[in-house]
């Protein structure tokens, strides 16, 4: 062969050869772990975002709970609905704040749902909520498919939905079950027993067991979902949490003096209910779950699972989804494409290669 004639050979492999990369022993420090610090610095500079939604009937203490969680007056004015007749239709009320702690900036968005379950006829009261959640996914999707994208797409997707179960002491009501069934497929749902100070310890446990049974019977998968446990440590940790869900919580934003300490609590004639005392209520568990340990996980699952599910459905069968505000009109589908909407469950870690299905 003529050595001067260059054969335009493509690269040997356009992707690295071995799928299983051989581990290499390093004989001394290289400094790779410095990348963790680099990550941290970057994260601190950029700030974090967190969007939480509270759903429940009026009077269950949702706004107080939010104030207690973030130790600030998240709702500037009186909580909507207080002393005012409940609105005729379900309205969604969002407020955004930037809070900072030890150099870490968090952009917090809280969405309230006054009027949920307050009407006489509560048919489809979950539709506006689902519409809102899907609208946020839609906005993100539209930003993501632009040709010239922003460097950082603002994330308004709901990362966690806290559902307040009224403390009847019996079991979940049909409204609760309907709502939870629909929502747990679209967003991370954390159910809590609201106003738990009206139940004794035994009543709480019994109520909790019945609710857990209800959830199992109706196949409602609340956060933390078992199928997303990454390894054995995760599973152990999350199983402990799953045992205690739904948490029995009490919210309070006033401080009282107890044994010389200043604590957040509710003062009643028969005693002071300390919010942060594990013997009194399980608020610390909720706070730890939502903020101290699982916040990043909530965001990851929203991004990797719920958003991806939405995207798949949207790109495939969008002609069957109900039209909501601000949704893009897609071209009508050919008859061969009409199928019944299936709910996709994309499990993390399962690598699916079947994209030729679509």
């Amino acid at each position: 062969m003529d050595p001067l004639r260059r054969s335009p050979s493509p690269c040997l492999s356009s992707r690295p050869s071995s799928p299983s990369t051989p581990p290499c022993e390093m004989l001394g420090p290289v400094g790779i772990e410095a990348v963790l610090d680099q990550l941290k610095i970057k994260a601190m500079k950029m700030g974090f975002e967190f969007n939480i939604m509270v759903v429940g009937q009026s009077g269950l203490g949702k706004s107080t709970m939010v104030n207690t969680l973030f130790k600030s007056k998240v709702w500037k004015s009186n909580p909507p609905g207080l002393g005012v007749p409940p609105p005729q239709t379900l309205q969604l009320h969002s407020v955004t704040h930037v809070i900072e702690e030890k150099g870490v900036k968090l952009k917090l968005t809280v969405t309230d749902t006054p009027g949920f379950g307050d009407q006489i006829n509560n048919d489809n009261c979950w539709d506006p909520i689902l519409g809102y959640i899907n609208e946020q996914y839609e906005q993100y999707l539209q930003e993501e498919i632009l040709i010239t994208r922003q460097r950082h797409i603002p994330d308004t997707r709901v990362h966690c939905c806290v559902y307040f179960v009224p403390p009847t002491g019996h079991c979940l009501r049909p409204l609760d079950i309907e709502f939870l069934q629909r929502l747990c497929r679209t967003v991370n749902v954390v159910p809590v027993i609201a106003r738990a100070d009206s139940l004794t310890m035994e009543e709480r446990e019994a109520f909790r067991h019945r609710i857990q049974q209800n959830l199992r019977t109706h196949c409602i998968d609340v956060y933390p979902q078992m199928c997303f446990d990454e390894d054995i440590n995760d599973r152990i940790l999350n199983s402990k949490l799953r045992d205690r869900i739904p948490f029995a919580v009490v919210g309070a934003d006033q401080e009282h003096l107890v044994n010389g300490r200043c604590v957040l609590g509710r003062k009643t004639k028969w005693g002071i209910i300390e919010v942060e005392n594990m013997a009194h209520c399980e608020f610390p568990l909720l706070r730890d779950l939502l903020i101290r340990s699982h916040l990043q996980d909530l965001k990851d699952i929203t991004h990797n699972v719920h958003y991806e599910n939405y995207r798949v459905i949207r790109l495939n069968e969008s002609h069957l989804l109900p039209r909501g505000p601000g949704w893009v009109n897609l071209a009508p589908a050919s008859p061969g494409q009409l199928t019944t909407p299936r709910t996709f469950k994309v499990c993390r870690g399962a690598h699916d290669d079947s994209d030729d299905e679509f």
Partner: protein
């Protein structure tokens, strides 16, 4: 993979004051834990002539021996060889991919040397783009193969950049983060080195080559990045052999006139390279690749494919719509081509069949002819044989007759002689 991209949002939102410890200061730790469990990817492309020390430098940088055989100088063209390795340091897992340009600078005609490199980089971007555009995709456990850093090895001539270097770097600067380094720096004396470096930098600037800028917007790293930038391009020496210096073993190269220590900042800039590449800016390199180079590629590719963000009536297009339309168009074309091919195939088959039939007929005819000829020949031979036999018979007859005559003649002769003899005898008596 958790990728951090972006800049801080402006403070037009209300800042809320907290009355107690909420606890989200653990967020960076939560994030870091997540990233640690997923592992990191880092891909380095080494561009340089054969024998300039690319593999040795990689071995030295990562303190390990990556198995590779030295390349020959006989490569017909430039090709890229990618190898992946898994490194672990404390609890950080790094999937390192090193891409080597084999045969770079060895050809007599180096016009197209840069092409395989550009193609490779584009192929990695394309693979990521394809994954991103898939309907059912899994980006979070996608093995990112996009090149995060390109180490360009400059030969230590001491004069200036070669034109091949300039051309290649110009082609690569919009696609990848280029970090130029002077290889085998132990062949340059210190005073020459300074001149060489400034010459290189000024040439890069005058030719408009954009090399990677170490970020200086972050207070924690701004200082160190600024001081290091002054020393670009880094003059490095690589060595995996250890030499005893004082009472320690250190990586060095031993010459009769002295020992060049790799990790001695007076001898070469290896330590600076390691600091910049790994310990300070690895995350920034990854981010630049994703937010700048990849986005540029994506934008160009999508525009090429005919997508727009808004149509002339400034109504937003849906990517999906255009995608579907294109897909249908493509499928239609595909079907048409298929039909064409099928028809052509059928026609060809028919033709071939006809040809074969013709040939068969011919063969049959030939066979008949041959058979006939053969028969004729056979008959001729038979006739001749008969003739011959007749002749032989005649001859035999004649021979027999002749013999008879002869014997008769002999007999009569013998009788005559006897008679004569008798007569004589009688006359004697």
């Amino acid at each position: 993979m958790t990728l951090l991209v972006g800049k801080p949002w402006n403070e037009e939102l209300r800042n809320l004051s907290l009355s107690g410890h909420v606890g989200f200061d653990s967020l960076p730790d939560q994030l870091v834990n997540k990233s640690t469990s997923q592992g990191f990817c880092f891909n380095i492309l080494c561009v340089g002539e054969t024998g300039i020390g690319k593999s040795t430098l990689m071995d030295t940088l990562f303190n390990t021996k990556f198995e590779s055989d030295p390349a020959t100088h006989n490569e017909p063209g430039v090709r890229l060889k990618a190898r992946s390795y898994e490194l672990q340091e404390s609890n950080v897992r790094l999937k390192l991919t090193i891409v080597d340009t084999v045969g770079f600078g060895d050809q007599i005609n180096k016009d197209d040397s840069y092409k395989p490199i550009v193609e490779y980089i584009d192929a990695q971007f394309e693979a990521y783009l394809q994954e991103e555009l898939k309907i059912k995709r899994s980006l979070f456990n996608y093995h990112d193969t996009r090149i995060h850093a390109c180490l360009y090895f400059i030969a230590p001539t001491g004069h200036s950049l070669k034109s091949l270097d300039l051309v290649t770097m110009k082609k690569l600067d919009s696609k990848v983060n280029i970090i130029p380094i002077i290889a085998k720096a132990d062949t340059i004396a210190k005073n020459e080195l300074h001149k060489f470096k400034s010459k290189i930098m000024s040439e890069l600037v005058s030719n408009g080559v954009q090399i990677y800028q170490f970020p200086t917007d972050e207070e924690t790293v701004a200082e160190i990045n600024a001081t290091m930038s002054v020393h670009l391009p880094f003059a490095v020496v690589g060595s995996t052999e250890e030499v005893k210096i004082g009472n320690k073993m250190a990586k060095a190269r031993q010459y009769p006139w002295g020992v060049v220590q790799v990790e001695n900042e007076n001898h070469c800039d290896f330590v600076k390279l390691r600091e910049m590449l790994i310990r300070v800016n690895m995350e920034d390199l990854r981010e630049q690749t994703h937010t700048r180079h990849y986005e540029l590629y994506r934008r160009c590719k999508l525009e090429e494919m005919g997508f727009k963000d808004t149509d002339p009536d400034s109504k937003p297009f849906s990517l999906q719509e255009t995608y579907e339309a294109k897909r249908n168009e493509f499928l239609g074309e595909l079907q048409k081509k298929e039909e064409e091919m099928r028809q052509m195939f059928v026609m060809r088959v028919k033709e071939k069949e006809a040809e074969l039939k013709e040939a068969e007929k011919e063969l049959h005819e030939k066979f008949d002819l041959l058979k006939r000829t053969h028969q004729e020949e056979k008959k001729k031979v038979e006739d001749k044989k008969k003739e011959l036999e007749e002749e032989v018979n005649n001859f035999q007859k004649k021979k027999a007759a002749a013999q008879l005559l002869q014997s008769q003649a002999q007999q009569s002769g013998a009788q005559q002689t006897k008679k004569d003899k008798d007569k004589k005898n009688a006359s004697f008596t």
